[in-house]
Symmetry: D2
Subunit: 359 residues, 4 copies
């Protein structure tokens, strides 16, 4: 046989191209929490059955490739601009996509978007059985119909400028009524390419789940092109198992983090252990007269931007995603190595505080 | 505060740019073997002290960014074309780079390349103390000087067409003499962008380590540009610890795999457990009348191309790197789900055979 | 003012992201021919009105971003698997998309795909007025209805393995009848990710247009992901003006080249001037005793692979796309510097021959 | 022959990989000005002969690939940290690289960096004959030695924080003396990844050339990685011909623009015609009751960010690089369509004003 060979690139690229197909799922590197599995979810997606541009099955393939565990197709109940060509069918997205979802191991949540002026604005009903019952004149009747089906109600993009010109989310009386009745369970902190810091205050005050969704009407890979975007918006749900029932239980319990680009947002009780599951701090590998060297490995897709270091320590450290960061600390430092994590948001004006324990 | 915000891309890119600097190390996703740590190594690099284009310290920063554990700077003893401008100093690479190597947690192996016509061709002496003692007239004297220093001797690019016009590596009498004396310990299977299948036969017959190195004279990131190349050539060494001593012990024991692009090459005793450490086969998540569906997750950077499936099973499966592959198997299949792994080479004409145990 | 500034990346990325939107059109670098404008076209696209996954308007936005001049939406007449959810309307694609096409300066060709078993296989009717008249039992009736509307008839993917298991296109009696009647005007050389060399023979023999189309059912940017793919398949039409009428005239006249990846295919009478419009050969900029140096600039997106150089000349030269290639020629060369252009196909077993005139 | 073929990716990638080599030059899409050729230049580069990490010849190959026309290797006269290993030779960079520069059609400018504390800071002497004569105790003697050789003197990074902690460039008495004597000819507006707006004021007041250089010590492709960076910093020089002499004449005449990322900076007399050479405004292609549609094509690598539109017109338009932008203008607009070009800087607080003439 011929024994010297130039390495061919063919086999390599076949892999790349087949990845563009739908037989494979990218790994999203985000750790589980102790006792929980972290489900990556997008609960806000549109299709040609309202004002989206794609067929429902496509949403499943797209989610599969993107490494998601669960999605909801949430076409508008009240806005169906294609109805002259496509007869209205509020359950069509769910009905058409569920077979494919089973074959692709995607949890498909039955949903719909109640689409009203502000207040109350847009609300997604998730985990319903029949979306056609939500097509009512009175919005409160629609909510009630959803709640009777066991729905999780999520307030969408509360600071969307088309409905709130100043961009500031506001709790109107109807929202307070919903909260009092137990008819509101989550709010979008991230939507599409926006976020609303004030949502953290609402969620903490009323014990609601913090959500992140794409609200996509077109193509995810074109809305969030690589390499500018490493990922689509995701709600991370800490569930007891990877099942639809466990997902629902976790969401009602508010065990979520909102994730988009290089930002995480949510309650400190989830953000803190999530951060520590992402990183591991190595023992010092070298020291000289003045300096101790150690490494921090970040096993997740989220870079962490540490700021506000203590006296004599590095003032800022970036823990790159899927990589290891070398830290050189002066021997003069005696205080614990504490930092604010600039991109992990735990309140309207609050970020996560952590410590790197290297000794 | 202003409560609706367009997400800025600034913070994201700051991370990307700082990664291009030298404070951070990319994670190379390759598993350890039970009882061993997998060290990622390049034992063949040049600098301005022979015919390379870079300063020795640069090789350390480059290796750090690329996620390597160990490198050797191996400038030519007999070929120093810059000597009119840079006085000959065979220990310069080692001497200049070792301080930086310590600070960057890179194991720097002291080495040199003995550069003769074929036979015997080029041979790297690794783990030496003084390269100047290798500058002898007789090549056997040079080998002896290296061996006296405890060197690991690696035969480089044995099928390089500049020395073997037909591209076929040949064991000349001098190589056999070296083997008999215990003066040859490894052979490059991969070098630069070539590989030599016959090296597998030599290594298995004489119990030598299978090696993969870049032999780089310029810039690694320009020689192996992304995205065409996901990685530089690496020798994977299965060591008892991440130390220079443990690395040396493992190499003399032949516990290596050669890795480049999407190919692995080496003895089945290392390739087989390495493959099974890379993947995990999930339990079936869905079945219908005809088909069982399960997923295989590949946690490594190496895609695996499975071919020659059994009757009624998928004939070919690509287990993408860092991702999950969905497998649909007909219920008619009763035999074990065995495959040849096309890109894991265990002999001159032999690839790894594996089984996916999904039931 | 503060006078030292780190350059922010924000403004740069705003541009990148807005490009992902639909307000801008990428320049496809392909030259005009003397007397003609080169129109970039895709005459084979599907939507939810047959078995595609997207809404018709999306095809216009996609084409706009990709830099095309003209497209045809060609949903299947005989295959409408979504008809339970979307009532059959063979003119829907055209009717829905034409307003957007005008606003985006895209020439939208009214079309439909006649979808029959082989023979005759699939045929696109282009430049029609009413697709519903093509919904007939007899395929010859359908062709006649198209021809009466002035249609250009294009035979699609003649070697598609689902209809021709050996992959070899065959001219069946019905095709010969169509040709005799003047009812066949073009054949796809490229379709999706395949090509059929024998089509060159048919087209040259019967004076038919050589076509390249995507036949896309999903998302172009996902079917042809960057950087593996630089472009989607395109039929290049050499028209007297950038109008629907001039486009049609040029297609009936057979003034086309088929373009995909790094390959061009078509008649030498178009391929040769197209090549010379792409490149310019510079005067020698330097010479020494033995060698003359000159540069060849390729202003197009198509790299050209020159092979079979004359005696003593470089045997192979790659003229990279959108770049300049340095050529070093021995002074011993006296013959004209002729080459075969490996990736410009002018016949089933024939490639373009050219000369680099540098003196 | 086999007539259906899957398209192989091999040939495509061979092109990509060979581009990574040094036989080909990328086209930088920047137009000439009427009567002048636009030379792309980097007049500030280091090698191992001072504190750089690369061999001089590498700088030529790098510039060639990047599409430059001219470079200067400007090693420090007063700072030679590698002198224990590499004997001092101030002309080494020039001497070693000039042969390769000729073969690669790169204009190599002989240069050196006079490296003093601020004031006067660092100054490059360009177009010299013997750098060793610049190694003097007195800096004024060094300048004189350069001027006697006909040198162009360029003040480097005047707001560099290591020398000007507040980042603000200042004209010290010594700089004024140099200007009075005619011994200062240009100032860096861009250096590495910084820019200094105040330089525009100095250059306009004293009629000096506006410069942009990389000041690179490592690897250009790693300092400015794609896709974050589309290009390295360049001084664009408008010369009467592509020769060293014409380049020098143009620089002394101050015919330059500074270019980096998506920014251009320089005198309006060059910036304005340069902008209009980059773009072409098409005639309206469509209109309806309210709106006129036309396209603007930008043939250059520089995107242009138009802001401050007139009443009823689009307030902001991004003219993407190498693409076409669709503009929809209300028929209510009667004023000329004027804009500020945010990223073309013509003064410390001034940007270029332009008009799009579409009617």
């Amino acid at each position: 046989m011929k024994n010297m060979r130039k390495i061919l690139v063919t086999s390599f690229l076949i892999a790349a191209v087949s990845f563009a197909g739908s037989g494979q799922r990218k790994t999203v590197n985000l750790p589980d929490l102790p006792g929980y599995v972290t489900l990556k979810c997008d609960f806000h997606l549109h299709t040609v059955f309202s004002d989206g541009n794609v067929w429902p099955v496509y949403r499943v393939g797209e989610a599969y490739r993107d490494g998601l565990d669960a999605i909801a197709i949430t076409d508008h109940i009240e806005y169906t601009p294609k109805k002259d060509m496509i007869p209205i069918n509020h359950n069509a997205g769910w009905g058409i996509a569920q077979g494919t979802a089973k074959e692709y191991n995607i949890i498909l949540v039955h949903g719909a978007e109640l689409t009203r002026k502000m207040p109350p604005g847009h609300v997604n009903a998730l985990f319903i059985q029949d979306a056609s019952l939500l097509d009512t004149d009175s919005i409160m009747d629609a909510y009630e119909a959803a709640i009777k089906q066991g729905a999780f109600l999520q307030w969408n993009h509360p600071g969307w400028r088309s409905q709130e010109p100043d961009g500031i989310p506001k709790l109107y009386p109807i929202h307070k009524t919903l909260i009092e009745k137990g008819w509101l369970h989550g709010i979008e902190f991230f939507n599409d390419s926006e976020y609303y810091p004030l949502v953290m205050t609402f969620c903490k005050q009323y014990n609601l789940a913090v959500m992140a969704n794409s609200d996509n009407h077109g193509i995810i890979s074109e809305t969030y092109p690589k390499p500018e975007y490493t990922n689509r918006p995701m709600t991370l749900v800490f569930a007891k198992a990877r099942t639809s029932e466990a997902l629902k239980e976790a969401m009602f319990a508010g065990r979520t983090l909102a994730y988009f680009r290089d930002m995480l947002a949510g309650r400190e009780e989830y953000a803190k252990p999530f951060f520590y599951q992402c990183i591991s701090v190595g023992k010092p590998y070298y020291e000289n007269d003045k300096t101790i060297f150690f490494e921090v490995t970040n096993k997740s897709d989220v870079p962490f931007y540490l700021v506000n270091g203590v006296k004599d320590a590095p003032q800022e450290i970036t823990l790159i995603a899927n990589g290891t960061t070398r830290v050189a600390v002066s021997k003069k430092v005696t205080a614990p190595l504490t930092y604010d994590v600039k991109n992990v948001i735990t309140g309207e004006n609050e970020v996560l505080k952590i410590e790197l324990k290297y000794k």
